[in-house]
């Protein structure tokens, strides 16, 4: 079977065309970029001080002055949601980096190493995978203490088996390809093989996993913070905002509605992005 080779410019043009023809991928990309932009903006601008109490404005309903309303201390919910969104993005970035870093290390070692290395590493990954992610994250947080850093580490660790397994499977299937056999017979170093051959070829499925992991991390952090094991007060993560809203549900239902909607929109963005990337990386698409 003949194999077509394309220049970098041609690859870029084809990728752009594929993205342009995929509606939900475009929506996912737009939402994800919007989330990143709001997160960066919140570093230097929020409409109101998210921590400043204003008891005269307690429980103001959503309106022109406060578009998402205010909480029990008169703090602006929109500004607090912006900070919550930034925390969600930070959790997504750090926990995904942990999962990707360890996943690459373990997946490459298992895939490229001897049979027994693969066997031992994969059995450990099986054991870790047997724990429902949230339960294992709760276990880690309970041992090392309840704060946002431990929550991020815990969320990252629980996803290592998924990254490791996928990378290992990709490496094993690549090992049989001619260009790897050729690299082996030319005596190319392991490091060079990883960076020049393996990583560029596993990048497409890894990028799908990265974006779906963002969605997972944000949902997990919201869950952990909701039960008080993630972000600690006064920092307003989206899960924590939901937890605090429950006391005032009848009086101020907006406190429960807006943070939940924002979580759903962020997760929607990353899952559409993940599904879309999965579609366009399929040669049959």
């Amino acid at each position: 079977m003949s194999q077509k080779y394309f220049s970098k410019a041609e690859v870029f043009r084809r990728t752009y065309t594929r993205i342009n023809h995929h509606k939900s991928l475009k929506i996912g990309l737009f939402l994800s970029l919007l989330v990143f932009c709001i997160a960066v903006t919140s570093l230097f601008y929020t409409p109101y001080d998210p921590y400043k109490m204003n008891l005269r404005d307690r429980f103001s309903a959503p309106g022109e002055t406060h578009i998402f309303g205010t909480d029990e201390y008169g703090r602006d919910l929109f500004s607090r949601c912006m900070i919550g969104l930034r925390i969600a993005v930070t959790v997504g970035l750090i926990s995904t980096s942990i999962a990707l870093g360890f996943g690459l290390l373990i997946g490459l070692s298992a895939g490229m190493g001897f049979g027994w290395v693969d066997e031992i590493l994969m059995r450990i990954m099986d054991g870790l995978y047997a724990f429902p992610a949230l339960i294992f994250a709760i276990a880690i947080v309970s041992v090392f203490g309840t704060n946002i850093y431990n929550a991020m580490i815990a969320i990252g660790i629980v996803r290592v088996p998924i990254f490791a397994r996928m990378i290992r499977n990709q490496v094993i299937s690549l090992k049989k390809r001619e260009f790897i056999t050729a690299a082996n017979s030319l005596g190319v170093s392991v490091i060079s093989k990883i960076f020049r051959h393996y990583l560029p070829n596993i990048w497409a499925p890894v990028s799908v996993l990265i974006s779906s992991n963002f969605a997972f991390a944000i949902l997990s952090e919201a869950g952990l913070s909701y039960i008080g094991l993630g972000t600690q007060p006064p920092v307003p993560s989206l899960g924590r905002l939901l937890m605090e809203s429950q006391k005032y549900m009848e009086k101020a239902p907006w406190l429960a509605i807006f943070p939940g909607l924002i979580i759903a929109l962020i997760v929607l963005g990353f899952s559409l992005l993940s599904d879309g990337l999965n579609d366009i990386s399929d040669p049959k698409y």
Binding site: R123, I124, D126, G127, L128, A130, F131, P132, A133, L134, I135, F136, I138, A139, I140, V141, S142, V143, F144, T146, A215, L219, A222, G223, Y226, I227, G228, L229, L242, S245, Q246, M249, E250, P253, A256, I257, G260, I263, A264, L265, V267, L268, S271, L272
Partner: protein, 312 residues
């Protein structure tokens, strides 16, 4: 048969790894475990007694082996806060958690099967687009947020369901159903969104197969083609995802119990984390992980029983 034995053996190895990870995670506490549990201003004698009681003076490998043998006997140690065996405490809280998990799964299956099949049969038509869009939204909503919204509408405003109470099934069936309905609905709706997508794509894939074309050309009724040929062949991926969903629902129950203040394992876990009652936390985590492994083994064996192609 050999596959079943092989699957049970690999399952045993996984269970062993689960115990190993559970033990080491809870023994990785930086510093002196006994002092951390009792607090830094605790009396030295009390710390020393607790260290002895927890067996912290022995080497880690010896402690793991002793603990593993105890776990095999069903002994998960004693709670520091409750001063009772962990197994007894878990047994007291297991009923609400299991009730919610099973009822959520029933809701999920009842919704996702007809919706998934309908979406596949009406591929690219209005009903398919509607079902796919709603299930896409369902996948991204946190179940506990849906729980809060359902609680706000049906419990606090309409007063149709109780809040913060649980009635055991043996006491009163209708009260039991009322007490678990909203938490189960929150988890079941989210889970059904995931399952609907899987069922839809699995049915769609099978509809393109040659044997379906043959069945159609033979003039078989559509309902017979769906139930006899399409569904039977779609069961393998559906079962795999259902197995994963059971684990996800079980984990979701831990949070949803806290939304509805139901005294199950989720409340117990959270309460124990807050009080640093680590033997209880370890017991609950291990128990849930074991259930997950056993469910996965059962799903794999069921798949083999249903699909003879997997036996080779």
């Amino acid at each position: 048969m050999s596959f079943i034995i092989r699957r049970i053996v690999t399952g045993m190895i996984t269970i062993f790894s689960v115990t190993l990870i559970s033990f080491f995670v809870f023994n990785l506490i930086p510093g002196d475990t006994a002092r951390i549990i009792l607090g830094f201003d605790a009396d030295e004698t009390a710390v020393s007694n607790l260290r002895e009681e927890l067996g912290l003076n022995s080497p880690l490998s010896v402690r793991y082996f002793d603990w593993f043998l105890d776990v095999l006997r069903g002994d998960l140690g004693d709670s520091i806060g409750y001063k009772q065996p962990v197994t007894d405490i878990i047994a007291d809280t297991v009923s609400p958690t299991i009730s919610i998990t099973i009822f959520s799964l029933i809701i999920s299956m009842l919704l996702s099967l007809p919706l998934g099949i309908l979406a596949a049969l009406k591929h690219n038509k209005k009903s398919d687009i509607l079902i796919t869009s709603v299930s896409q939204i369902g996948v991204v909503i946190p179940s506990f947020w849906l729980g809060i919204i359902l609680l706000l509408i049906f419990s606090q405003n309409l007063k149709l369901f109780p809040y913060g109470s649980y009635t055991d099934i043996t006491e009163n069936f209708s009260d039991w159903l009322k007490s678990i309905f909203l938490p189960s609905l929150s988890l079941g709706l989210i889970s059904s969104a995931v399952l609907t997508r899987v069922i839809r794509s699995s049915v769609l894939e099978n509809m393109k197969e040659d044997f379906i074309r043959t069945a159609k050309s033979k003039g078989l009724k559509e309902s017979r083609i769906i139930y006899k040929h399409v569904l039977k062949n779609s069961l393998t991926p559906i079962l795999t995802v259902t197995g994963l969903q059971i684990a996800s629902i079980l984990a979701g129950t831990i949070i949803i119990e806290n939304v509805f203040s139901i005294p199950g394992m989720g409340r117990l876990l959270l309460y124990s984390v807050q009080r640093r009652d680590l033997p209880v936390v370890q017991g609950v985590v291990l128990w849930i992980a074991m259930i997950t492994v056993i469910v996965n083994i059962a799903v794999d064996i069921l798949q083999i029983a249903i699909d003879p192609r997997l036996r080779s």
